[in-house]
Amino acid sequence: MKLLLVTWVDPWVRSVSTVHKYVAAGRRQGHDIAIYGEPNAHLPALPFTTELDGVDLAVFVMQVAADFPDMPYLARVLDGIPRQRRLVIDLWGRFNDTIRLEHDFNHLQKMDGHAGWEWEEAFQAVSDTILQPTLAPLRPNVGSFLFHGWDPGSVAKPYRDARQAAAAWGGKAYGAAYVGSNWQRWEQVRRFLEGYAPARERVGPVCLAGWDWSARPPWAAAMGIMGIDTDPTLLARLGVEAHDGVRFDEVVGLLGRARFAPVIHRPLFRHLGFVTNRTFETFYADSLPVLMLPRDFVAAIYGEAALTLVPGDSIAAYLDDALSRPAVYWDAVLQTRSHLERHHSYAQRLQQLEALAAGGAGAGGAP
């Protein structure tokens, strides 16, 4: 299959890691996968192309408006690849009615200049097949395709068993690390930090790596955009280290420098049941994931074993228990990794896309 990914890749943000996984998985399975556009010197491992001949499926991976190619590439791809060989993966829930949750949103004109109807028209212009990374899209004309997936080869330290993992689990610089920008996550991060505080002396310091954790950015204040709040006093009191973001290829290594790695989804994605790159990527790290996610979502995506990784009401008690019985938690991690390999491998994702390509993706089919 010749697969063209149409999206804007940036080494620091969004789905660049997943895109790399598709390229690698495609190579292993004999698929020809490339990103539409000119080569990007910052991403040497990604093949870029502007050649459109023979493309079996053009997958428009949409998050922000800039994921639509600029001209003249936009016209070439829309004119060059028939509609039935195009589909849209709506990673940020744009193809829904307008949703407001806490401070989060799927459309906000003052933020990016686009109203909800523009997103809808633009996606429908590309294809009849619109997929979202959730098991249960809200709209009947949207298909489910999780897009992000699991690559067993990316596990930083693939342990033989839980005992080995637990024995190796030590000597970490941080008690917990969260890698991700301060975008609609502050409330959840704050709850995590406040719950973490009683155990901090035993677990270790927290590291937040991402943009805008140290201070609310001036542009957000100027535009009246909420959900990028922070509390420098709280961070100082808890001794939290706030760092700028890291490149996609440094995320797993950084998470592995901490005992625990919380998985946090922004309110919009929790509401929509969306998975993200970090949903899976956190399990590559040599760290115990703390799943700050709804239990039914955890069971559905990660499998029953992962419920062990969901803290109860007391995060501190949960962390203390993990410190005292690490093998129990590592066993859950290894079982979850196994579940992810069985159910969410990129090989399976590619099979789904292959089926869509064979069936004429643009005809509105869903996997």
Partner: protein
């Protein structure tokens, strides 16, 4: 047929007035025209729409800027209109080789910039039309006048405003200065004592755009306000498109200049026709052959190059003679450049 125009729209510049004529006349032929975008409060007569899917054809009108709409909107337009339903109107000769006139005005600053334009327009596809009187340089391009003369807009002397100026130039200072400084100002100096008020109405005669180099090459906006001051030349504010003819009518003589590269390429502009709607004597910075090609034989007498001072004084002294010449030109324009014909031509091309 519903036609959507994608263009940079400003009330005080560009092709807005021409488009207003298409909007006005299209219903007479069973068609309608709207500009893509949200309405502008100060030009309520212009029709705008963002309902892309309700249109049948799209016309991209380009000037010297590779105007872009948002990518998401562009995607909808591209998906809605197949290439054969897209028409490109190249009003500033951008779909050409690099053309530089006397090391001054140019259509492209570099081959790289030209390549960017060509790639963009080729990707849009459809048909490319240039608003030129000459055979287009590129065989893939067709000529189309696009601009026209609307006799209904002619200002009758009885309704004309009082004459405030003897000489007026209405238009922005965009690649005009060299010609103004070389040909017009020396003539004004020669006859200044015999002439009343002189005005240059438009943008950038006093200063370049405040946005700086992003607005365009510095040379394009060059001016010499001190020289204007010495000649007692006034520079009133620019006017909206619907006030152009009225404003021109406040002067006995209006001078028409054209940026050099467009004159070289024999491009028509809106000003070619607007100026003959005004109650004024148009005098043209076009050579006599060029003037005749557009305006008919009478146009030769309105040609200024080589005789600016003499012609200005002559027109001020013999207005009746020149008014008769202007009437001849108007008859020629009605016969050859009416907007009815333009509208028919455009829709015929779009229908193909």
């Amino acid at each position: 047929m519903k036609v959507l125009l994608v263009m940079k729209h400003r009330g005080d510049a560009g092709n807005t007035h021409a488009v207003a004529n298409y909007m006005r006349l299209a219903p007479r032929f069973g068609h309608s025209v709207a500009i893509f975008g949200a309405p502008i409060w100060y030009v309520p007569e212009l029709q705008f729409s963002t309902d892309i899917r309700s249109f049948d054809r799209v016309v991209y009108i380009y000037e010297s800027e590779l105007y872009r709409i948002e990518r998401m909107n562009e995607a909808v337009i591209l998906a809605k209109f197949p290439r054969q339903h897209r028409l490109i109107m190249d009003t500033d000769g951008m779909y050409n080789p690099v053309v530089v006139v006397d090391g001054y005005d140019f259509n492209h600053a570099s081959e790289a910039e030209r390549a960017r334009w060509i790639a963009h327009l080729d990707a849009l596809g459809g048909r490319i039309m240039q608003t030129t009187m000459a055979p287009p340089l590129d065989p893939r391009v067709q000529a189309m006048a696009f601009y026209g003369y609307n006799p209904a807009l002619q200002m009758p002397p009885s309704a004309s405003p009082a004459k405030q100026f003897d000489i007026l130039h209405v238009g922005h200072n965009w690649w005009r200065w060299r010609e103004v400084a070389r040909d017009l100002l020396p003539a004004f100096e020669e006859i200044r004592a015999e002439v009343g008020r002189i005005g240059f109405i438009g943008l950038w005669w006093d200063a370049p755009p405040p946005e700086g180099p992003t607005a365009g090459p510095e040379e394009a906006f060059r001016s010499d306000p001190e020289r204007f001051r010495r000649l007692n030349i006034e520079t009133p504010r620019a006017v909206l498109y619907h006030d152009v003819i009225h404003t021109m009518s406040t002067a006995r003589i209006n001078i028409m200049t054209q940026r050099p590269v467009l004159r070289r390429l024999k491009h028509l502009t809106l000003k070619y026709f607007e100026i003959f709607c005004a109650d004024t004597i148009p005098l043209l910075m076009l050579d006599a052959d060029h003037a005749e090609a557009v305006y008919g034989p009478a146009g030769r007498e309105l040609s200024l190059p080589g005789a600016v001072a003499r012609k200005l004084l002559d027109a001020l002294r013999r207005p009746d003679h020149y008014r008769a010449v202007v009437e001849d030109v108007r008859r020629h324009l009605v016969a050859n450049f009416s907007y009815d014909r333009r509208v028919e031509e455009l829709f015929a091309v779009l229908q193909d």
